[in-house]
Assembly symmetry: C2
Homo-oligomer: 126 residues x 2
DNA sequence: ATTATTGTATTAAGTGCTTAATACAATAAT
DNA sequence: ATTATTGTATTAAGCACTTAATACAATAAT
């Protein structure tokens, strides 16, 4: 997985989400050391200040911590990471259901449409 | 339904989405006359210029048309409106599936989690 | 004919985000 | 001891978005 940044939302907010995701799925493992701010910024093709802004927020949330000049590390609190993953999934679900409900679909229709949509995807590789 | 604007994305983009939605679900019926730019801006608590920017884009897309000083109207092309609704639903589905897949859920899990999530909502009113 | 309403355009100011270019203190590496 | 790397902070500039205050032409309403 790489960095995918769009121009229609603040970059720092997208960085926060994507770093959270990388932690959740193990690209940045529990307790591991992160690349430096400057290296991460290069990787993502953003200004170091922008990356720093994102990292500061994640640190504030407890997902990262800093050893002054040794570098930045991912939390070792597995419960915290699991909670983040759970919250992300629930947010996606709520957002999806809200949007589909706005459009006029009821719960049964939402499940049916999603299922048939995934069904179609399956058949593409058969 | 009213206007729900957040500060983390351009307002004009949110206006476009919400006006499209209002057309899709009949708040602004096919062929009907829209309130004036100034009135819509008041309703949504935004600057007339911002509302104008959104309306201009919708007109460019063909969803609205203008009679120079008589006002602005919703298209009478029901197929176009249906297509917009279909696309919106598909976009929501793709976005949801992509996000959940990123998090590590496979197709079956996605359907199962969504179903059980909606199930829980049901039981709240029983 | 006059007035009010329509969409549209322009200019100026303020805000938040991003980049660029530095700089500094702490400490790991040599 | 010296050097390189770390996170962090500051200042200036540019950009897009938003608001505010106007103004204008066309035409519906009176």
């Amino acid at each position: 997985m790489t960095w995918e940044l769009q121009s229609d939302r603040p970059i720092y907010a997208q960085l926060i989400e994507q770093i959270e995701l990388k932690i959740c799925i193990g690209v940045f493992p529990l307790g591991s050391k992160l690349p430096s701010v400057r290296d991460l910024a290069k990787e993502a093709s953003v200004n170091p200040n922008t990356m720093q802004k994102a990292l500061a927020k994640l640190e504030e949330d407890g997902l990262l911590y800093t050893n002054r000049t040794s570098g930045r590390y991912v939390t070792e609190d597995i419960q915290m990471v699991k909670a983040v993953k759970r919250k992300k999934a629930q947010d996606h679900i709520k957002n999806f259901v809200d949007k589909m409900t706005e459009l006029g679909f009821d719960d049964k229709e939402i499940v049916r449409i999603l299922s048939s949509s995934l069904q179609k995807e399956d058949t593409k590789n058969e």
